[in-house]
């Protein structure tokens, strides 16, 4: 296994100059402990990505050879299955897949007849743009609204917003997406109906504007469907600190309410919020799969959805693997920076 190798990679001794050597040291030690754990998670996930598509009934023969492939001579079908390696026992296929992953190869998509890595390179930036935008906007918006609500806790507006966000939280994202599509794209014609950019090529600033224009509705859908969770968490977290002594002291000193909220309460309450941001990457990536379908957004999500309908094993394996790595990576980052945010967890 690769775990010892990761442990060996940890530099020993005071190789780190000056600036807070002990803290840097601690982060590396933490990585040495956590790294192998996360690697194991990735390996298990990669195996699941291999197994799950194959556990679905159905097979990719139609995808490989065309509709009603059984009209072809049996030897033609056998040749094609052999060509893509589906004639081998599952154990052999699994071995090849894992060996490929170790070499950084993801194989060739059945449908597109292109390397999976090429397809993902084309599409991943769009999904990252969509998920990244939604992550930032929903966090900022959720925290800001939560601060307002917590400060006015118990008043009518606070109660109203809790009801609203609980409603948003429990509404299926595709439904929100369709409503936005009907109102803002079809009826009001403010935004495009489909796609990640216009079919007519644009360049320079116009292109940036065009991409942003196409991004608004899908990103807004993701924001609306995830801002509720941020809001509820941030509000609870803020209410926890508002009752603390130092806030009382700050009030006694005669500080303005806004100063108390921004300078004192928010930083203390930001810990769980910050962690939740990274943990939400997974949920957002999952939501993006459906949202991309609704808006025909050309990201990894819509690609994987098509791949699952056609049983495009290499594409499903590869795409899910890359998404897994991204989500696990986000968690690892959260794990590593948390001690910096909260000295209490440092031991």
């Amino acid at each position: 296994m690769a775990a010892p190798a990761a442990a060996d990679a940890t530099p020993v001794g005071p190789a780190v100059p000056a600036a807070r050597p002990r803290r840097r040291h601690r982060a590396l030690r933490r990585l040495a402990v956590r790294g192998p754990q996360y690697l194991l998670i990735v390996l298990v996930a990669a195996s699941a990505n291999f197994a799950l598509p194959r556990m679905m009934p159905g097979n990719p023969v139609d995808l490989l050879l065309g509709e009603d492939a059984n009209r072809l001579p049996p030897e033609t079908i056998a040749d094609e299955l052999a060509r893509v390696g589906l004639d081998q026992p599952l154990v052999v296929q699994y071995g090849r897949y894992m060996a490929g992953l170790a070499r950084g190869e993801l194989g060739c998509s059945f449908r597109h007849r292109k390397p999976v890595s090429t397809l993902l390179r084309e599409r991943l930036p769009w999904t990252l743009l969509l998920v990244g935008t939604a992550l930032v906007v929903s966090t900022v918006l959720g925290v800001a609204l939560a601060a307002l609500a917590a400060w006015r806790r118990g008043r009518r507006r606070d109660t109203g917003s809790i009801a609203l966000f609980t409603f948003l939280e429990s509404t299926p994202p595709f439904w929100i997406g369709l409503l936005l599509l009907i109102w803002f794209a079809a009826t009001l014609r403010w935004f495009p109906l489909f796609g990640h950019m216009s079919l007519d090529r644009t360049t320079g600033l116009a292109r940036v504007g065009d991409i942003a224009h196409h991004l608004v509705l899908p990103a807004a859908t993701l924001v609306l469907s995830s801002v509720g969770a941020v809001f509820l968490l941030a509000r609870a977290s803020l209410l926890g600190v508002i009752r603390d002594d130092y806030v009382l002291v700050a009030r006694a000193k005669g500080l303005r309410e806004r100063t108390i909220a921004v300078r004192h309460a928010l930083p203390a309450a930001s810990l769980p919020i910050a962690t939740s941001v990274l943990l939400r990457v997974g949920a957002l990536a999952g939501g993006a799969v459906i949202i991309e379908r609704v808006f025909t957004y050309r990201g990894v999500g819509s690609l994987l959805l098509e791949a699952s309908f056609g049983r495009d094993y290499p594409l499903l394996q590869g795409g899910l693997f890359v998404l897994t790595v991204i989500v696990v990576g986000a968690n690892l980052v959260g794990d590593l920076i948390y001690p910096r945010l909260d000295p209490r967890v440092q031991r």
């Binding site: 679905m56 009934p57 159905g58 097979n59 023969v61 139609d62 490989l64 050879l65 065309g66 509709e67 009603d68 492939a69 059984n70 009209r71 072809l72 001579p73 049996p74 033609t76 079908i77 094609e80 449908r111 597109h112 007849r113 292109k114 084309e122 369709l178 599509l181 009907i182 794209a185 079809a186 009826t187 014609r189 495009p192 109906l193 489909f194 796609g195 079919l199 991309e292 379908r293 609704v294 808006f295 025909t296 050309r298 819509s302 690609l303 098509e306 309908f309 056609g310 049983r311």
Partner: protein, 546 residues
């Protein structure tokens, strides 16, 4: 706005609503014969497609029957082409004929036809196409029956067959795209990534293809049948039906490749929108596995068919926008359908008599009959991605419950349902892992009579589509005679007999055919020609009548 929203909700199947079900289909107003009209050129037509799998539209990379095949045949020509009613007419061929034995087919090509790159299309390309397809077969064109192609001169190709094949005109002549030898001779594996834009001789060149986003076509000004009416066709790929319909409503698209559901029809016949279409040939068939008791008994299959109220299904699940199927399997609009086997056998009393006769009685009074002590209760398989079919399956199970047979609807995803009926592509060796199922067949099944042979022949290498495991030597004999009968009258007589056998044995019972209702924007382009049973995107819509 409000109405549009309601339409969306209905489309999503979240609201059940009934609206009027008038079955008026807008079509294209054809000019009066004898009146010459100049047809104005259309600069750009935006035709939204739902299909993500058409790739770069070569015969080896295109995916769907409609619109994919018809997109591909804008680029490539066939030797013969079907008119909108499904009748063959010469295309690249000036004329074609068979000798009396039916073993030699002679095709004479038009002079001066060129591919998009200016190179001439000759009989050598025809020969090359056949040999290339034999080396790299596609399900649609299995050409094992062609022994060789002779090319006595540049415009004559002679197909020499191993066995006579009456529908040779329909397939391959009217179906196989002719590819340029000078391009394809360098391509060893056509299934592998072919990034080139296809080179054909058709009315359009594909000038751009972006995977998952768009196909873009430009008219071929030198087309041998005249310049097409539309200069540029842009086909954006839209990920879901709802967004595509909305795009037509909002003006982002001028037409779309999918048929709307009947409840939306009123929405799309107003405000500059129209619909074109007719009775579709894509049908839903009740398949009964003849390898499973009690379905191996023709009387039991008869009883099932007699208990199904197809008309109720069309009225309820399709709001009347559909046709009921014929027990003889062939759609009633098809020229060679047998008038004697068109009417459904609905007769509950007959169904009960048949079941009584088989000794299946309800001894414990629970409303379900028993066979040797175990209840007649089966799983009705249907694929879940078609809401209309799932609704139909529910109504169907209520239908047969009235005669004491219980069906539990199992809606599965398409690949799973497919795998239950085509286990590992071993048709004939095994009869599928299902007892009774509601399947759909594409329109093509009703267009070429030879399908009747592949659908029910007991020899696995002939009956490649035999999903019900039906075995009847008499039927096999008729089907084999029919496929060799080059004389049309003889053939039609044999086809009629085959339909009678099917109506009697009932290995599969066509329940309904949803109407095709294709919405389009009248102001951009109003010349859509509906290909009977199939769709509106085709050469006939885009070429001026001559």
């Amino acid at each position: 706005m409000r109405r549009k929203l309601t339409a969306m909700l209905i489309g999503l199947g979240l609201v059940a609503a009934a609206c009027s079900s008038d079955s008026g289909n807008g079509g294209t107003a054809q000019p009066e014969p004898g009146v010459t009209t100049t047809i104005p050129q259309v600069a750009t037509l935006r035709f939204a497609t739902i299909a993500p799998g058409e790739r770069n539209l070569t015969p080896w990379t295109q995916g769907s029957g409609y619109p994919g095949y018809y997109m591909m045949t804008l680029v490539y020509d066939t030797l013969v082409w079907l008119d909108p009613d499904g009748r063959p007419e010469p295309w690249l061929a000036r004329e074609y004929s068979s000798d009396p034995s039916g073993l030699r087919w002679t095709v004479r090509l038009h002079e001066g036809v060129t591919f998009h790159d200016g190179r001439p299309l000759t009989s050598a390309d025809v020969k090359f196409t056949v040999e290339y397809l034999q080396a790299n077969p596609r399900p649609r064109w299995v050409l094992t029956n062609i022994e060789r192609v002779e090319t006595p001169d540049a415009t004559t190709a002679v197909f020499v067959l191993r066995e006579p094949k009456a529908s040779f005109v329909l397939n391959p002549l009217a179906d196989m795209p002719i590819i340029p030898q000078h391009v394809w001779s360098a391509i060893t594996n056509p299934l592998d990534e072919v990034t080139m834009l296809p080179v054909g001789s058709g009315p359009y060149r594909m000038v751009e293809y972006v995977e998952g986003q768009v196909h873009r076509f430009q008219a071929n000004p030198d087309y041998f049948k005249g310049r097409p009416i539309v200069d540029e066709i842009v086909m954006p790929i839209i990920g879901n039906n709802q967004a595509a319909f909305t795009a037509v409503q909002s003006g982002d698209a001028d037409a779309v490749s999918v048929s709307i559901t009947p409840e939306l029809r009123a929405q799309f016949n107003q405000g500059g929108l129209k619909t074109a279409g007719g009775s579709g040939y894509r049908g839903w068939y009740l398949y009964m596995n003849t390898g499973r008791a009690p379905f191996e008994r023709p009387e039991f299959r008869q009883a099932m068919a007699a208990a199904v109220d197809s008309n109720d299904i069309v009225q309820t699940a399709l709001l009347g926008a559909g046709a009921t199927g014929s027990p003889g399997f062939v759609h009633r609009s098809v020229p060679w359908s047998n008038p004697a086997t068109r009417e459904g056998p609905l007769d509950l009393n007959r169904a009960r008599t048949l079941l009584d006769g088989l000794g299946f009685r309800d001894t414990n009074n629970d409303g379900v009959r028993e066979m040797d002590g175990s209840p007649l209760e089966f799983e009705l398989l249907v694929r879940s991605n078609d809401p209309v079919a799932v609704r139909a399956a529910e109504i169907l199970s209520q239908s047969v419950a009235r005669v004491g047979v219980k069906l539990n609807v199992a809606a599965l995803d398409q690949a799973t349902a497919g795998n239950r009926t085509w286990p590992d592509y071993q048709i004939g060796q095994s009869r599928g892992d299902y007892t009774i199922a509601l399947f759909s067949w594409a329109a093509a099944v009703q267009q070429d009579p030879d399908f009747l042979r592949s659908l029910f022949h007991s020899n696995p290498s002939v009956g490649t589509l035999n999903r019900s495991g039906y075995r009847n030597p008499q039927y096999d004999e008729l089907a084999d005679q029919q496929t060799r009968a080059v004389d049309e009258a003889t053939r039609n007589r044999l086809l009629a007999q085959m339909q009678e056998v099917l109506a009697r044995d009932m290995p599969a019972y066509p329940i309904f055919y949803p109407d095709d209702i294709f919405p389009y924007r009248e102001s951009t382009f109003d010349r859509w020609v509906y290909y009977k049973g199939v769709g509106i995107l085709n050469k006939a819509s885009l070429l001026a009548p001559r």
